[in-house]
Assembly symmetry: C2
Homo-oligomer: 152 residues x 2
């Protein structure tokens, strides 16, 4: 996971400028308690510290950071794109358990797909860069509620 200095340096190297809005966006980004943030959520968090920021600036910054590989886009089917900071070690993947009832997203560390990946690269002639595993089901809370109520 990159730190502020690394991101700023990389931006400069790319020919981008370090404006107050952009710097603040990066700072806020790294301290969000919501790990899977939407642009709207980031926008609100940034605005708490500086009212003079436009939504489109946040969109544009997020876009740049994604191109640079510092954040990744995720889709949890809740209406908007979500992003998360990338791990430094690209092999240190994590997966998502998504509750079909309450929408909660639980992260699961660890890569369990090495054998499968090997098979894919051999049999399918496909160069693997990344992967994403989503597991849908019911979290223990919702399952407990459903066992109490009648299923629907």
């Amino acid at each position: 996971m990159a730190n502020e200095k690394q991101i700023v340096d990389a931006l400069r190297k790319r020919g981008n400028k370090i404006t107050p809005q952009r710097l603040l966006t990066i700072k806020v980004l790294m301290t969000l308690d919501q790990h899977h943030f939407s642009v709207e959520e980031l926008f609100q968090a940034v605005k708490l510290q500086n009212t003079d920021v436009g939504m489109s600036t946040i969109y544009r910054t997020v876009q740049i950071l994604e191109e640079m590989g510092f954040i990744t886009k995720r889709n949890f089917d809740d209406g908007f794109a979500r992003y998360e900071l990338c791990e430094r070690d690209e092999k240190h993947w994590h997966h998502h358990l998504i509750c079909l009832k309450c929408g909660k997203v639980i992260e699961m560390q660890g890569d369990f797909l090495e054998a499968l990946e090997k098979e894919i690269e051999e049999k399918k002639d496909f160069i693997i860069i990344n992967h994403e595993l989503k597991v849908y089901g019911y979290c223990s809370d919702c399952y407990a509620i459903m066992k109490g109520d009648k299923f629907d």
Copy 2:
């Protein structure tokens, strides 16, 4: 994978009506050569056989079929939602290899995640209903081209 009769029966059981538009939509749906179809694509295919169909009717039918579990929504980040017919055997899952260069989606049959699922159910206290695995990388065609050109 359900057949037309099963879907129609299930619709009736739900109290839905079998209108010509809906029936045609289902028929066309099952003969699409595009396995991962968007609503727009389905709409165009249906319109070839009956011009008197509105886009919103297709949207509404697709929504119902998804609620009923006959089709599943997929997101390949190409701007619109895509759907595919569900397998009858819910354990007969397949995965998607997505080329980062040309966007081609290759399907891969087989479930390789049984051990992982067992672990999740035990350690994370999570009831698994379904899962989705996307593998991003380069298909052999694009990889060949990239090896010829310079990488970018």
